[in-house]
């Protein structure tokens, strides 16, 4: 248990505060997560090449598949940024031991600045509003032209990905610098930086959702759309942080800490998973709340230019997907994750997290694909693009994780986190 370990270290060093050395929590040489770098990199590169090789003949399909894959992995990385900012903004003590994992996830954001390039080059082939002559007989589009035009769209996109990359990289770097400096001032500084960063995060995420996903259907608008995407980010990151923490508890090589081997073994306890599970459950409900709020207002006012968005998702075979989404993204996980036993049992929680990561993809599939006139069955291009961007994402993540301590060992709240208990 965390406590015994902490006291053990204590006896070793003769300090009053429990100390964990960076060596103790380094990623061991033989850890399975290290394999993500070569495997993810190779699979990602190959799949991405295959995506573009197969798809160049049908650019509309290619770029809608690419957008779906890009946006799916991006929401995970953005979720990581949200997680880090949230912990600093709330001065959370419990989460210190799992925060480094999220810092690495948000550290992958520069990759998405790179992956945004194909999207920026393909605006005309993906977005109806940018097609030549689209607004000639369409007063609605003509009215939106000052915002929805290719130049401004790309400018905004570049600003979003650069802002995220900078925030993700910077928070990760400052936190890692604390591993050696042990300076409590670094924590205070990041705490005060996190609040304005959260504002930047909220605004950029909202407008990126409007631009990249909502504008696929340029006549339609929903002011809650950014919040809906945010709810998906949150669901994804609490799942991912739980799964990565479990992976870091297991496996390993010679430098292992506990009997089960991983660098986080004995540090992350069932108490941390309980809290991650509670947050996951909370955001599953939040997602449903936002999704239903959007639906009910549009259903109630019954204005054709708004209801058409749902109509696209209730016709041509999409109705089954809509129902499937409501059941698998809310009803089933609600009753599964509400149980205390699920959240305090690693294998059961892992099943819930994998499930949520899968239905989060279904959610984005349901948002993006009907808007480009695609049918409700995933295509080969969807799969290839998913593997391509995902492989690169996981390889980048493994690359970021290869050296630094897996726990912010210099954080003044680490001891509080290690001895955290729910009851």
């Amino acid at each position: 248990m965390a406590h015994d370990d902490a006291h053990h270290e204590d006896a070793h060093h003769g300090h009053d505060a429990p100390k964990i050395t960076a060596d103790r929590v380094a990623l061991p040489a033989g850890h399975p997560l290290r394999r993500l770098l070569p495997v993810g990199g190779a699979v990602g590169a190959l799949a991405l090449v295959a995506t573009f090789a197969l798809g160049l003949g049908h650019p509309h399909e290619l770029y809608s598949s690419y957008l779906l894959a890009f946006f799916y992995w991006l929401t995970l990385a953005l979720g990581g940024l949200f997680f880090v900012l949230l912990q600093f903004a709330t001065r959370a003590g419990w989460s210190v031991v799992v925060r480094r994992v999220a810092e690495h996830v948000s550290g992958t954001l520069p990759l998405f600045a790179l992956l945004f390039v194909p999207l920026a080059l393909a605006v005309g082939q993906l977005y109806h509003w940018s097609e030549a002559g689209a607004m000639d007989h369409d007063p609605l589009l003509a009215g939106k032209a000052p915002y929805l035009n290719e130049g401004f769209f790309i400018t905004r996109g570049v600003f979003f990905v650069l802002a995220w990359s900078l925030l993700g990289w910077w928070f990760r770097r400052r936190s890692m610098a604390q591993d050696t400096s042990h300076d409590p001032g670094a924590t205070r500084f990041l705490q005060s930086a996190s609040a304005p960063a959260l504002i930047v995060f909220a605004v950029t995420l909202t407008f990126a959702s409007f631009d990249w996903v909502m504008s696929l259907d340029p006549h339609w608008y929903s002011t809650i759309f950014g919040v809906y995407i945010f709810a998906g980010c949150a669901v994804a990151i609490f799942s991912l942080v739980s799964l990565l923490s479990m992976a870091l508890e297991k496996g390993g090589g010679s430098k292992s800490g506990g009997p089960s081997g991983g660098p986080l073994a004995g540090l992350v306890t069932v108490e941390h998973y309980h809290d991650l599970g509670k947050l996951l459950f909370g955001f599953v409900v939040f997602w449903a709340y936002i999704a239903f709020s959007q639906f009910m207002l549009i259903w109630y006012s019954n204005i054709p230019e708004e209801t058409v968005w749902y109509r696209h998702r209730l016709e041509h075979g999409w109705k089954a997907v809509t129902i499937l989404l409501a059941v698998t993204h809310f009803a089933i996980p609600f009753f599964y994750l509400i149980l205390r036993r699920t959240k305090r049992n690693r294998p059961l929680l892992a099943i819930g997290c994998l499930w949520m990561l899968a239905v989060h993809w279904l959610d984005l599939f349901w948002l993006i694909k009907p808007a480009v006139g695609a049918g409700p069955m995933p295509t080969l291009l969807d799969l290839l693009a998913f593997l391509g961007t995902g492989g690169l994402f996981l390889a980048t993540l493994a690359w970021l994780m290869r050296k630094p301590a897996t726990v912010p060992v210099g954080d003044p709240r680490l001891a509080e986190s290690l001895s955290f208990e729910n009851m």
């Binding site: 248990m1 406590h3 239903f292 639906f295 109630y300 205390r340 001895s419 208990e421 009851m423």
Partner: protein, 230 residues
């Protein structure tokens, strides 16, 4: 846990408690005082392992690991919340259906009489209300609250329960009542008082107050309960 759920539930209802069979005037209590949360946990483990059933622990603040040391079973409150939450939601939806589609059908913007999406917010709120009432009254019922008096309040020392002392009390209908005082003393009680049904208090043991357990005051330092989880 092998008992069927229903009989388990019934046996936990306040009026099914075995203790109520004893005439309150004849109920006696032992009140043991400990100087640290660590000592309280050690004492609780002793009581749990001896098979005592009619006892409780009292602390000025939540002590991590105490419920495990006491061997407390999981609470029935979540079940009340589930049943009343679902019941409240069902009642909320039924009320709106009956009002809008049966008793006083009123056409609103050409939608069907039973337009369930419009009823979801109120259904949700009724579910929350039912769940909250289930939590509050389920807890009060299981804890047999509110009550105006408890025999323990006869002890002057017990006032320090809200300040800097940790207490363990045993009721005389406990199966191991005869050796309860010895168990409490062995665990390192600094004092043990016996409280009679008439409200009389007499000291039956005074110890050194020195225990084998950790004695520092913070809960984080003294959470041996965590080691039981593995």
């Amino acid at each position: 846990m092998s008992q069927p759920l229903l009989s388990r539930l019934l046996s936990r209802l306040p009026w099914a408690k075995g203790g109520d069979a004893t005439d309150p005037a004849e109920l006696r209590l032992l009140l043991a005082e400990y100087e640290s949360p660590g000592a309280l946990i050690l004492a609780a483990r002793k009581m749990r392992d001896a098979g005592c059933t009619r006892w409780d622990a009292h602390s000025p603040f939540p002590v991590h690991g105490l419920e495990k040391a006491m061997g407390l079973k999981s609470s029935m409150v979540p079940l009340f919340v589930l049943v009343l939450g679902l019941g409240g939601a069902a009642a909320g939806m039924a009320l709106q259906w009956w009002v809008s589609a049966v008793e006083y059908p009123l056409l609103v913007s050409g939608k069907p009489m039973f337009s369930w999406p419009a009823f979801v917010p109120i259904t949700f709120e009724c579910g929350v209300l039912g769940g909250a009432l289930g939590a509050v009254f389920g807890f009060l019922g299981l804890a047999r609250l509110p009550r105006h008096h408890h025999p323990l309040f006869a002890s002057q020392r017990f006032e320090r329960m809200s300040d800097d002392r940790f207490f363990l009390s045993v009721e005389s209908d406990d199966p191991h009542w005869d050796r309860a005082a010895d168990l409490l003393a062995e665990a390192g009680a600094s004092r043990i008082e016996e409280i009679g049904g008439d409200g009389s208090v007499k000291e039956v043991h005074r110890g050194s107050g020195i225990t084998s357990g950790p004695t520092s005051g913070t809960a984080a330092d003294t959470a041996p309960g965590t080691s039981e989880e593995a």
